[in-house]
Symmetry: C2
């Protein structure tokens, strides 16, 4: 489709690790070439460094320090960053419809498409989960959970009714995988610390925390001993860990789990599922049962002009003896991006493509209280050494010296001064003066189901 | 109303400088006394350090660093912080109705009331101002303006229509008092810096900035030469300064000023007026024509059990030869609070009250580009020395070593690394998983008035 007049346009959909790293790798590969241009469509004008999100929730890190402006990461004159939502993808007509800040739909044509739309939280149709639980995928999620927890402490401080008070002070995390355990560890740390320093009228013993998981193990991503270690540590810190236990229903002030056990709570965090962005399945490329794009080892899709990468793709691992595809991790996304950029340039230049190959360095999880668990180069680590490796690894991955310094200083200052219960409510940021400035309850009170 | 059984309850309405400093001064005066308790009602669970708000807008400072958690500033066991909106004040019945996070109204009885509700933005009924302009009074205002400016740069980068593009890249500040000039200076600094580093496809000359003021001078709070200096500096940096010019009407993509001049713009910042919170006038105490509480020099109102302080009060200056009341500044609010706390304790103990007396140290304004103007101890200062004094003074006023270190480091790091165009959109922070996650346009597009 490209002509001598017009550069070949690579349109990348998605501003997460996969999409942004692909754009960066393409810029490096293209160098001073002017026959290819990159268009990157992202919902936000920044890339979120997701592994550190739980620490934004607890206030250890400033939100702006874990996001990197896209225009600071991509520098070519022929690269365009478009802050917009993807509305529709037509891989047959080579056109993508996006909705930008002006509220009008725009049609973007492309020569090569990269699907890097990642995943969204999957609720599996559990009743009430969408309405009452919070996720842990976006900055808004982290802010939402933080503000809700603080709201609960403030309400509990003034509440006389012991039943309402118990629901206010009970916190339930659904899902005990990497994301769930890291969120649970950080959340518990935060709640107990701010209670001690700022809400001394609430008793330490009044706070209850639960970790609920459908599978029979904690941290299924790691060897069973590591999961057992994490479980033991969380239990020692007061967590009620319920394994093999489904969440049946979430209501406004309680959650039903397992065989009908009712836990009074107004705070349910759901980390139990991720599914690909739904418009991927409607884009005209072949997808699997879960809606993820089926690719070849080269990341080509069933359409020759479209590639897929990251959490919205299933990329076969040619070296895996059991034929399992690559795991949907940030580590893989970053490596896939380099291979994909090379393959896109090879395709444009008419050279053969190469499959993605990679053996994981390892997996590390922070479970709070300066404790971690993980496997690195096949060696199992746990305790503070694993936590230290976890911090060191992610710190080394934070892009740019500016962010590295800021994240490092945040850690030092929080160690020195502790955290605080500031409840930043900027949700009416888009309103003009006409805003009534009225308080909105962070937790919905539309109906009382209990 | 107090009895031997129950402590005397001082209810303070308002979590700004005036209210929080009164509570702090009361805690200090009361020491270990247990016969008086303090209830502080605040819309947010923190105090906003308003003088640094424009630097939050430009991203020089992190939002959390210019707010202090109330529970970190007030420590007595008998002090209660209530995060709620004030709905109604009944000074005859000694009861205040507040709306808390649970969405239910609560009635709070008091023995002594302190009205410290401050001011809200006054639009003087200018058509379209409420709907299309943004203020600069709250954190949400600062976020809203920041995100709108970034949105405009992003739209302009992709816009072909030169008329729309011009409106995107024109920024108008209404009001050239202290707040307006500081906002204008910081805004211009920010726009030009991020354009240079992150939006190089937009030309420097495409950005237009206006400062519109009804009075015939800039910085009416300072001597005329200082205002003239500020004006000259702003004009040198590209500002069109229009004095003696009213804003007639604000529309979605233009503003009408003076005798009908139309400026195409989508960004109007309004700093031209402040009025007291409206429920003050309905509280049953005597107010002036503007709705501010008329007090004696002791800050007593027309009701013996109610005091008023800060921007919602007119406190006569017994030493002023022209009989002018004290100016509504943070400096005065902080000093008034100490006097008021002493007077409240004196009233409880049956001792006579004393009038508030204070001679201002001076006034300083930052106009951006490391330039300031002001008067300190009667001496006029301008240029970088005034800017340095401005920073030093406000830094010394930031409460607590934690915040002082963080604000200081923010300044150092921004000097080293510059600012960035991250557009934090956490406005749906209160939504649960059910949120559609759809992009909301920061600027309303409901109707096109041009």
């Amino acid at each position: 489709m490209s002509s001598a007049q017009r550069p070949h346009r690579v349109l990348i959909l998605g501003g997460g690790f996969a999409g942004v790293m692909t754009a960066q790798a393409l810029e490096r590969r293209l160098g001073k070439r002017r026959d290819v241009e990159i268009w990157l469509v992202s919902r936000d004008n920044f890339m979120l460094f997701t592994p550190l999100l739980p620490e934004v929730c607890s206030g250890v890190l400033e939100p702006r320090h874990v996001v990197m402006p896209l225009r600071g990461m991509l520098h070519h004159q022929s690269t365009w960053c478009i802050t917009a939502d993807v509305e529709a993808i037509d891989t047959q007509g080579h056109v993508v419809t996006v909705m930008g800040g002006d509220g009008d739909p725009h049609r973007l044509q492309y020569d090569t498409l990269v699907l890097a739309l990642g995943g969204i939280t999957h609720t599996f149709g559990i009743p009430g989960l969408e309405e009452h639980a919070v996720g842990m995928k976006t900055l808004a999620d982290a802010f939402g959970l933080r503000n809700r927890v603080i709201e609960m402490l403030e309400r509990a401080e003034l509440e006389d009714d012991p039943r309402i008070r118990q629901a206010d002070l009970t916190f339930v995390v659904g899902g005990a995988g990497l994301s769930g355990v890291e969120t649970a560890g950080e959340l518990e740390d935060f709640v107990r610390r701010v209670r001690r320093h700022y809400y001394p009228k609430i008793g330490e013993g009044d706070i209850h925390t639960y970790l609920v998981e459908l599978k029979n193990e904690v941290l299924a991503e790691l060897p069973p001993e590591m999961g057992a270690f994490a479980r033991q540590r969380l239990e020692r810190r007061g967590f009620e860990v319920r394994l093999g236990t489904p969440i049946r229903e979430v209501r406004e002030a309680e959650v039903v789990i397992g065989e009908g056990e009712v836990i009074p709570t107004r705070t349910v965090v759901w980390t139990g599922g991720v599914r690909p962005a739904p418009m991927v399945a409607r884009s005209g490329v072949e997808v699997d049962h879960a809606g993820r794009v089926k690719t070849r080892p080269t990341m080509e899709t069933s359409r020759s002009t479209a590639f897929a990468i990251g959490d919205c793709a299933v990329i076969p691992n040619v070296e895996d003896p059991d034929g399992r595809p690559f795991a949907p991790t940030a580590q893989n996304a970053v490596r896939e991006a380099k291979r994909l950029a090379a393959n896109i340039v090879a395709r444009i230049d008419g050279r053969p493509l190469s499959p993605y190959r990679y053996r994981t360095i390892g997996t590390l999880a922070s479970i709070g209280h300066h404790t971690g668990v993980g496997v690195v180069f096949g060696i199992r680590v746990r305790g503070w050494i694993a936590w230290f490796m976890w911090r060191g690894y992610y710190w080394s991955r934070v892009p740019g010296i500016n962010r590295k310094v800021r994240v490092g200083l945040d850690w030092v200052l929080t160690a020195l001064f502790g955290t605080d219960p500031v409840q930043l409510k900027v949700e009416d940021a888009s309103s003009a003066l006409g805003s009534t400035g009225r308080r909105r309850a962070p937790v919905r009170d539309r109906d009382t189901s209990d």
